[in-house]
Symmetry: C2
Subunit: 301 residues, 2 copies
């Protein structure tokens, strides 16, 4: 589907046609299903309605701080049905890429800037990690030259609220001392929203330091990168022409949909506002709606 | 003086002519006078020789972690004579700019990412700081919205070995919530060398995070910015055509000399090697020599 400007569905028929046209529904989470720890109105009902119509539902999040098992608990707390197989996070996509695409040898390891969720996903794929949440591995001594540890084959940067100088310098040194060391990042979100519109720095900001100092671009596993889609199609049989991606960010969600050749819907229940949807902008969604609750015009069956 | 390729002095006459041609000698420190905590051979003798010939000596360092008073002690430990008035550091240049050029009102303050040396210089210029080494100001709570503190008129980024997520996010929020908040950095050195050729991340790397997330460039007080030169000429009466800058980095020291319209000499006793000196490169020094000890051919008087 190609449109030069987004379509704003309004009638029952508009929404019914969208439901009829797509078999697989990819949902971003923050700003679509929930906001922080508060469920977004309509999300539970609409996802249940789509299931009742035999639609496949997949949740795609750039949040790398939780494992899928932890996300499953969060979905339950939000009243939304979700199985682990339906949840694709940037932490999981990172782990799948390192084990299945890079095929990291068993005697090699990954230096992690990140939190326990990403470590959990990596270990579940049989990947040995260092750094991360291990306090003994986050101390920097001037004589501590990581070039002496050639078993570190990749540095994986991810959101880390305990980021410190030792972690950043170690990551930098692994990448500098060994040009074959892969430079990876779970996602490139510059910021993430917390309460009251305040923005905190995201993975993209933490990675900027390395990207700028090294003059090297990381391999990104988060939206809008197609890598995330490849980890989805490795597990689910999907027809892109009958798939729609729904999200609240043009640069991550809508761009992701475009990169994967699927239809896109921007919801205004998260970061983007109507003013962000420009017909002349570089990223134009196929559909724009206030939020998932707009689908409630279709009733519950 | 304009040259299309650098001149490599070899004879006593070559060195004598350089000494005769320049009255003011600007010296970078790390890689020229010392390496870490080890004096570089010849530095003490050559600076003493130049003083005996009535030359003015000024030390210009991008290291923002010490105050000039602390640097004076380091010079003494290296056996090199230096007064506080002869030492220009990026911390001092930052403080002079904020007090004399920005003319920060007394009821405003500066949020500092940095160490005690830069705080000391700021306070000496009568500037109120927050953040920095104050542990009580480096804790981030989700409800801690810095937009509520409009007295923060500038964020000054500097090398900080205790950098953490709270400091980075606070700096980012001051700059995001108040578009009039000035974005400043002591220097833009991406890395600094420690033992065995290992590089640690410098101010430029820490600043990259903010620069990238904000899409905004900081005002830089370190070499190669002319701002550093302006703080020197505010204190010393200098004739640029009879001034030479000597340093070990093309991008910081030689570029600084070029930006200030003074002659430049690259020494190979620090970061740069002969291979870095390309006739077709964008930054060509006027002179190249192994190190200050090469001036010893002139004897001690």
């Amino acid at each position: 589907m190609l449109r030069s400007s987004p379509f704003f569905p309004t009638t029952v028929e508009d929404y019914r046609k969208i439901v009829d046209d797509y078999d697989t529904w990819l949902f971003d989470c923050d700003g679509v299903i929930w906001k922080g720890n508060t469920p977004i109105q309509g999300a539970a009902e609409v996802s249940q309605f789509l299931r009742s119509r035999g639609k496949r539902i997949i949740f795609v999040t750039n949040n790398p701080t939780h494992s899928r098992a932890t996300f499953k608990k969060k979905f339950a707390a939000m009243g939304v049905e979700a199985s682990v197989d339906e949840i694709f996070s940037s932490a999981y996509a990172s782990a799948v890429y390192i084990s299945s695409v890079m095929k990291l040898p068993k005697d090699k390891k990954v230096y992690v800037i990140g939190m326990s969720g990403i470590e959990e996903e990596l270990r579940e794929q049989g990947i040995t990690t260092c750094g991360g949440t291990d306090p003994s591995d986050n101390i920097l001594e001037p004589i501590d030259n990581p070039a002496h540890d050639p078993s570190v084959a990749a540095v994986l940067c991810s959101y880390d609220s305990s980021i410190n100088y030792a972690k950043l310098s170690k990551a930098f040194q692994y990448l500098t001392c060994n040009p074959d060391c892969a430079f990876l990042c779970s996602d490139e979100d510059l910021t993430y929203p917390v309460e009251d519109g305040v923005l905190f720095l995201g993975t993209g900001a933490l990675t900027a330091m390395m990207r700028y100092s090294l003059g090297r671009e990381p391999v990104n596993f988060g939206k809008p990168s197609r890598t995330m889609f490849e980890s989805i199609i490795a597990k689910h049989d999907i027809n892109p022409s009958r798939t729609i991606m729904i999200g609240d960010r043009l640069d991550a969600d809508v761009a992701f949909g475009k990169n994967c050749g699927v239809a896109t819907m921007l919801v205004l229940s998260g970061l983007a506002s109507l003013a962000d949807v420009s017909e002349v902008g570089p990223i134009v969604p196929d559909f724009v709606t206030e939020g998932l609750s707009d689908f409630c015009v279709l009733g519950s069956t």
